[in-house]
C-alpha cells in the first residue's frame, strides 16, 4: 500500500507523564493493525519526526491528532495550535488533556509560589545566586530560549477546539482501539463526545451489588487505616470512592486492585463540575446532621480538593488559586 494514501495520524504530549504514550503502546498486538492502517507522521516518544516536519505539512493534512497532557507553557500552546491547524480531527487523549489531570493540582498555587518553591525553597535546592529559568539566556551572542510558564494549567479545550475526548489516566487500550476503529471507519458520534460510556463507574463495578441502599456515611476511612474487604463496595466501607460520579470505561481496574476509584475518567457528559458533584453526593449521604458530627465525619477527608478534583481542577468551576492582583472572569472566561 502506498503509505501516503493511508490516513495520517499524529500523537503529541503536553504537560503529561508519558503514560498516555504507554497506553497507545499497550494496544499490544493491535498496534500492528493500527500501524498497518495509518501513517504515523508525528510521535515524539517513538518516532524521529520534528516540529519542522509538522510545520511543513499542508493544513488539515493530518486525519487525526491525539494530544495528551495539560497546557502550561507557551510552547504547548503553540504546538497544539499547530496540530489543530494541521489536523481535521483533534482528539484529547487522557485525563490531563481533558481535565487538567494531576498537573492541574498545581492550580492551587500561584505561579510565583511554584517557581519560588521549586527553584529556591525546596530543601534539595542550593541556589545561592537566585537563578530562575529565563525566557532567554544569552550565549556568545546567541540566545537559548525557554517557553513561558503560564499562570495556570489548562485543559486542551481551554486552548483549542477539541473534536473528541478519550478519557482516563491513562485511557485503556480497549477504548483507544474502539476510538481508532471508529475513526478509521468514519463512524464517529457528534463532535465534542467523550468516547467512553456515559454512565458512572458503579454500573461496571463488580462490587455494585454490595453497595447498600442507604450508605448513611458516618465516617470516612483512609485506605491504610482499615482492613479492606476485597468484595464489598468501597464506599460502604467508608473509603471515598469517586465511582458514583465518574464515567465508566476503565473496566473498574482500580477497584479490581482493591483501591477506590479516584476519578480519572472524569464526570459524565451531564455534569459540569466533577468535584462539586461527588461532593454534593457525599454530603447528602452523611449520616450526622449536626455540625459536630459532620465535622467528625469529614475529618476522614483531609484533602477535599485533592480528593474530589484529583484530575479535574483545571476544568472545574474553581479553576485555580487567584492572586490578589489577578482578575479573571470566573464562569466562562479564559484564564490568561
Amino acid at each position: 500500500m502506498n503509505p501516503t494514501s493511508k490516513p495520517k495520524v499524529a500523537f503529541y504530549w503536553c504537560a503529561s507523564c508519558g503514560g498516555c504514550e504507554e497506553a497507545v503502546v499497550d494496544l499490544a498486538e493491535d498496534i500492528l493493525n493500527v500501524v498497518e492502517a495509518v501513517e504515523i507522521v508525528f510521535w515524539p516518544v517513538a518516532m524521529d519526526f520534528k516540529k519542522q516536519d509538522l510545520e511543513a505539512m499542508p493544513d488539515r493534512a493530518i486525519a487525526a491528532a491525539l494530544v495528551n497532557g495539560a497546557i502550561r507553557t507557551s510552547e504547548q500552546e503553540e504546538m497544539v495550535r499547530l496540530l489543530r491547524r494541521k489536523s481535521q480531527c483533534l482528539i484529547s487523549y487522557g485525563a490531563c488533556a481533558q481535565l487538567g489531570g494531576i498537573p492541574a493540582l498545581a492550580n492551587q498555587f500561584e505561579r510565583e509560589e511554584i517557581l519560588r518553591y521549586v527553584y529556591q525553597e525546596a530543601p534539595s535546592v542550593i541556589n545561592n545566586s537566585g537563578t530562575y529559568p529565563q525566557p532567554a539566556t544569552p550565549h556568545n551572542g546567541d540566545t537559548v530560549t525557554l517557553p513561558a510558564f503560564r499562570n495556570s494549567v489548562r485543559a486542551l479545550d481551554q486552548v483549542v477546539e477539541v473534536d473528541y475526548y478519550i478519557p482516563g489516566c491513562p485511557p485503556t487500550p480497549a477504548l483507544t482501539k474502539a476510538a481508532l476503529d471508529a475513526l478509521l471507519a468514519g463512524r464517529l458520534p457528534p463532535r465534542g463526545t467523550v468516547l467512553a460510556p456515559d454512565v458512572a463507574l458503579c454500573e461496571q463495578c463488580p462490587r455494585l451489588e454490595s453497595k447498600p441502599k442507604d450508605l448513611s456515611l458516618d465516617a470516612f476511612q483512609r485506605p491504610h487505616r482499615t482492613a479492606l474487604d476485597p468484595e464489598k463496595c468501597l464506599l460502604a466501607q467508608g473509603i471515598p470512592c469517586m465511582g458514583p460520579a465518574t464515567r465508566s470505561g476503565c473496566e473498574a481496574l482500580c477497584i479490581k486492585g482493591n483501591m477506590a476509584c479516584t476519578g480519572c475518567f472524569g464526570p459524565t457528559s451531564r455534569v459540569l463540575d466533577h468535584g462539586a458533584k461527588i461532593l454534593s453526593c457525599f454530603a447528602s449521604a452523611l449520616a450526622p446532621k449536626e455540625p459536630q458530627g459532620i465535622d467528625q465525619a469529614l475529618a476522614g477527608l483531609p484533602d477535599p480538593v485533592g480528593t474530589f478534583y484529583r484530575y479535574s481542577l483545571a476544568r472545574s468551576l474553581l479553576r485555580r488559586k487567584r492572586g490578589p492582583s489577578q482578575t479573571q472572569h470566573f464562569i466562562r472566561g479564559n484564564p490568561p
Partner: protein, 664 residues
C-alpha cells in the same frame, strides 16, 4: 449552544408596577427597554397592575396578536401570582409552563433603597428569566386522588375541636395525643377569660364527645414516629406507649387505684405539676379522656422488684385490664391530610433567676396557680401556700419570658388577660391584696377590654413597672414573705412591695420538640420557633407542606377563642381538599434518565418523600412521579447527573445564571 434559534422563540416580557410597590423603587421603563433588546424577545411592556383582569387580558391579546410563545412576568413573588399568570397564559392557548415569573418586588423593590441599583438588579433578573424561559418545555399538571382520612396531632382544645368538626362531617379522624389524656392546657384551668366560664364545663363535654365518636380513633399516650408520602397519601406510623392497662378492658372504675399497695398517694403528680400526689397506678384527672388508668413503671413496685402483691390486679378482677407485659406498639395508617395542633409550652422561669422560682417556695407559675384554683386540683380549689396558709398579699408579674430581649421578644398575647383572671380569682378565693406588675396591659379581642375594666374595678393594684428584684423580707426572713423591688414608671418612684405569694405570668413558647416535629412533617418555623403559616393573612392555617394544616398555639400564642376559630378553619381546609377529591400535582418533578443511571443508589435514601426505588430487574433508580414533590434533593445529589427535574433542568438553571451574570 444554549440559545435557541430566535425565530422559534417569541418571548413576551411584562413588568408590573404593582402600583408604586415596584415602580416607586425602580425604573420600569428602563427595564422594558433593556429586555426589548434581548434575543428572542418579541415584545416588552410595563403595566400598572398585571394581575388585574385587564392586565391578564393584555397578555392574552398579545399572545394572539403577536404570536408570543413564551411569557415572562416580572412582578411579585410566584407564591402570590404564578397560578394567576399560568392560568391566563393557558387560556390564551399556550402551555402554562411557558410562563415564568421573576420576583422583582420581594427580591428587589422591597429590599433596596438605591433606585439605580434596584433597576440594574431587575434587568439582571429579567435577563436570566428571558434566557431560561426560552428553554422551557410544555408540561402537564397531574391530578392525584386524596384519601378521606385525617390525622390530627395533639389533643388540646385545638385538636379536639378540629377532630370533632371532621368527624361530624363523616370523615375518619385519627387523633394522636402524647399525654395519657386529651385536653391540653385548657384542662388544667379553672375559669377562662374573658367570660370566666368554667373551663371544665366547656371542655369536658367536647373531650367525652371525642372519646365516644364513632368516626374518631383516639390514640393517647402515643406519638407519630414517621410520616411518608404526600398530600392525599400520607403513610403515618404511630407509636403507642405501654400504659400497662388494656384500654378496651378498663372501665374507668378506679378500684385499682383504691387497692394499690401504696395506701397513700406519694409520688408527684404530673397533671398537677407536682403540686399534688398520685399513686403508681393513676388517672391524670377525674375527667381524663379516655378514662383509662395507667401505671408508672418508675414508681410501681412490681416493675421495680417484681415482688408486689399486685392488689391492683386483684381489684381489677374479671376485667383483667392490667397487663404488666404490655409493650410499645406501632400502628400504620394512611391519611390524606394532617392537622398539627401540638400547642405550646410555658416559659420556664428558672431562666430568669432573680424571680427566685424554684428557690423560694412561695413563687408559683401561673399554670400552677390555675391548678390551685381548680376545684379538682391538689388543694380542692383552695389557694393555699406550701406552708398551708392562704396568702394575704399576692404579686403577679406579667411578661415573664415575653417582650424581653434576653428571652422571647414577642408578646405572648394571653398573659395580661389570664393575669387579670388569676388576680380576680385569687381575690375571690382568699380576699388577698393583689398587685399586678405590668409593662403594658394588652387587651385586644372581643370582650377583653370590658373584662379588664371589670377586674380593675374590683380593687386590684395595677403597677406599671418591671420587678427588678425579689428577696426574702429582711425584717423577718423566716416568715416566707418576699420583698419585690419595682420601679413604678407612672409615679416615677421605686417601690418595695412585700408579698407572701408571687405569681409569674409565664409566656407561651414553642414546644421543646418543635424541630423534631417540623422535620417529621416537613414544616417550617418562624423566627420565634412556632410553625410558620404559608401566608400570615391569606393562608393562616396552611403550612408549607401541602395537605398539612396548623391549628392553635403551635402556630403562635393565642387565646382559646382564636385557637378554636383556627382549628375550625384548619378542619374546613382539610375538608375542602377531601371533598374535591384530588390535588393538582406540580409537574416540577424529578425523573431518572434510565440509560444514564449507574444504579449507584445514592439518591434512594435521600428522598424525603420516599419517591425513589431501585428497579430490581434493571438495577436503575426509578422515581414515582406521584410521590415526588420536586424538592430537587436527588437531582443535586445524583453523582452522575442522571436525574433531571422539570422546570429545573440544568440548562435552564445555567442559562438563567448566565443571563443574570452577563448583565451583572
Amino acid at each position: 449552544m444554549r440559545t435557541p434559534r430566535p425565530d422559534q422563540v417569541r418571548i413576551g416580557f411584562y413588568i408590573c408596577h404593582c402600583g408604586t410597590n415596584i415602580a416607586g423603587a425602580l425604573d420600569v421603563g428602563e427595564v422594558v427597554n433593556h429586555v426589548a433588546g434581548l434575543p428572542g424577545v418579541a415584545l416588552a411592556r410595563d403595566y400598572k397592575y398585571l394581575c388585574s383582569d385587564p392586565g391578564q387580558e393584555l397578555i392574552q391579546h398579545d399572545i394572539r396578536d403577536h404570536g408570543l410563545n413564551r411569557i415572562v412576568v416580572a412582578a411579585c413573588s410566584p407564591l402570590m401570582h404564578e397560578r394567576t399568570f399560568r392560568r391566563a397564559v393557558e387560556e390564551a392557548g399556550l402551555n402554562p409552563f411557558y410562563c415564568h415569573m421573576v420576583n422583582i418586588r420581594e427580591h428587589d423593590a422591597w429590599v433596596h433603597t438605591d433606585r439605580q441599583e434596584a433597576t440594574a438588579k431587575a434587568k439582571a433578573l429579567a435577563t436570566g428569566a428571558v434566557r431560561r424561559v426560552a428553554l422551557h418545555k410544555p408540561l402537564e399538571t397531574k391530578k392525584v386522588p386524596i384519601h378521606g382520612e385525617v390525622l390530627v396531632v395533639g389533643g388540646g382544645i385545638a385538636g379536639i375541636h378540629a377532630a370533632l368538626i371532621l368527624a361530624d362531617a363523616g370523615k375518619r379522624v385519627y387523633l394522636v395525643e402524647r399525654e395519657p389524656t386529651i385536653g391540653g392546657h385548657m384542662a388544667r384551668f379553672d375559669k377562662t377569660f374573658p367570660t370566666l366560664d368554667c373551663a371544665a364545663c366547656i371542655l369536658t363535654p367536647k373531650m367525652s364527645a371525642v372519646g365516644a365518636h364513632p368516626n374518631i380513633t383516639l390514640w393517647t399516650y402515643s406519638e407519630v414516629t414517621q410520616v411518608e408520602g404526600y398530600v392525599g397519601n400520607f403513610n403515618v406510623t404511630v407509636t403507642r406507649k405501654p400504659r400497662y392497662v388494656i384500654e378496651d378492658a378498663c372501665t374507668g372504675c378506679l378500684q385499682c387505684i383504691e387497692a394499690c399497695i401504696y395506701h397513700d398517694a406519694r409520688f408527684p403528680d404530673e397533671f398537677n405539676l407536682g403540686l399534688g400526689k398520685r399513686k403508681p397506678i393513676h388517672l391524670p384527672f377525674p375527667q381524663a379522656t379516655p378514662p383509662v388508668v395507667l401505671i408508672d413503671p418508675g414508681t410501681c413496685i412490681e416493675f421495680k422488684t417484681g415482688k408486689c402483691k399486685k392488689t391492683c390486679v386483684e381489684a381489677c378482677a374479671d376485667r383483667r385490664a392490667i397487663d404488666f407485659q404490655q409493650r410499645e406498639e406501632t400502628r400504620q395508617i394512611q391519611v390524606g391530610t394532617i392537622i398539627i395542633a401540638t400547642g405550646f409550652q410555658t416559659f420556664d422561669p428558672r431562666r430568669i433567676p432573680y424571680y427566685g422560682y424554684g428557690v423560694f417556695p412561695t413563687v408559683y407559675t401561673a399554670l400552677e396557680v390555675e391548678r390551685l384554683l381548680n376545684a379538682a386540683g391538689p388543694t380542692g380549689g383552695e389557694v393555699i401556700l406550701r406552708n398551708g396558709k392562704p396568702p394575704q398579699r399576692v404579686g403577679i408579674v406579667h411578661c415573664v419570658g415575653s417582650r424581653d430581649e434576653n428571652t422571647n421578644r414577642y408578646c405572648s398575647r394571653v398573659c395580661c388577660l389570664y393575669s387579670l383572671k388569676l388576680a380576680h380569682l385569687i381575690k375571690e378565693h382568699t380576699g388577698a391584696e393583689v398587685y399586678n406588675f405590668y409593662i403594658d396591659i394588652r387587651t385586644p379581642g372581643k370582650g377583653m377590654e370590658e373584662f379588664y375594666n371589670r377586674v380593675a374595678e374590683e380593687g386590684m393594684h395595677l403597677v406599671r413597672g418591671k420587678v427588678a428584684d425579689v428577696y426574702p423580707d429582711p425584717a423577718d426572713p423566716a416568715n416566707g414573705r418576699l420583698m419585690l423591688q419595682v420601679e413604678d414608671t407612672l409615679m416615677g418612684r421605686i417601690l418595695k412591695v412585700p408579698v407572701d405569694m408571687l405569681v409569674l405570668s409565664v409566656g407561651l413558647e414553642p414546644r421543646a420538640d418543635t424541630q423534631e416535629v417540623r422535620r417529621k412533617f416537613n414544616l417550617c418555623c418562624g423566627p420565634e420557633g412556632f410553625f410558620l403559616e404559608r401566608h400570615p393573612k391569606l393562608a393562616p392555617v396552611s403550612s408549607y407542606a401541602e395537605g398539612v394544616f396548623l391549628a392553635g398555639c403551635c402556630q403562635g400564642p393565642k387565646d382559646i377563642p382564636d385557637t378554636v376559630a383556627q382549628a375550625g378553619a384548619a378542619a374546613a381546609q382539610a375538608l375542602a381538599l377531601i371533598v374535591r377529591g384530588y390535588t393538582e400535582q406540580e409537574p416540577n418533578t424529578a425523573y431518572v434518565r434510565e440509560e444514564d443511571c449507574s444504579g449507584c443508589k445514592s439518591c434512594i435514601p435521600l428522598c424525603p418523600y420516599t419517591a425513589i426505588s431501585l428497579a430490581a430487574d434493571k438495577q436503575k433508580a426509578f422515581i414515582n412521579e406521584a410521590l415526588c414533590k420536586g424538592c430537587g434533593v436527588c437531582v443535586a445529589a445524583c453523582p452522575s447527573g442522571s436525574i433531571g427535574q422539570n422546570l429545573f433542568e440544568d440548562e435552564q438553571l445555567l442559562s438563567e445564571v448566565e443571563g443574570v451574570l452577563t448583565y451583572a
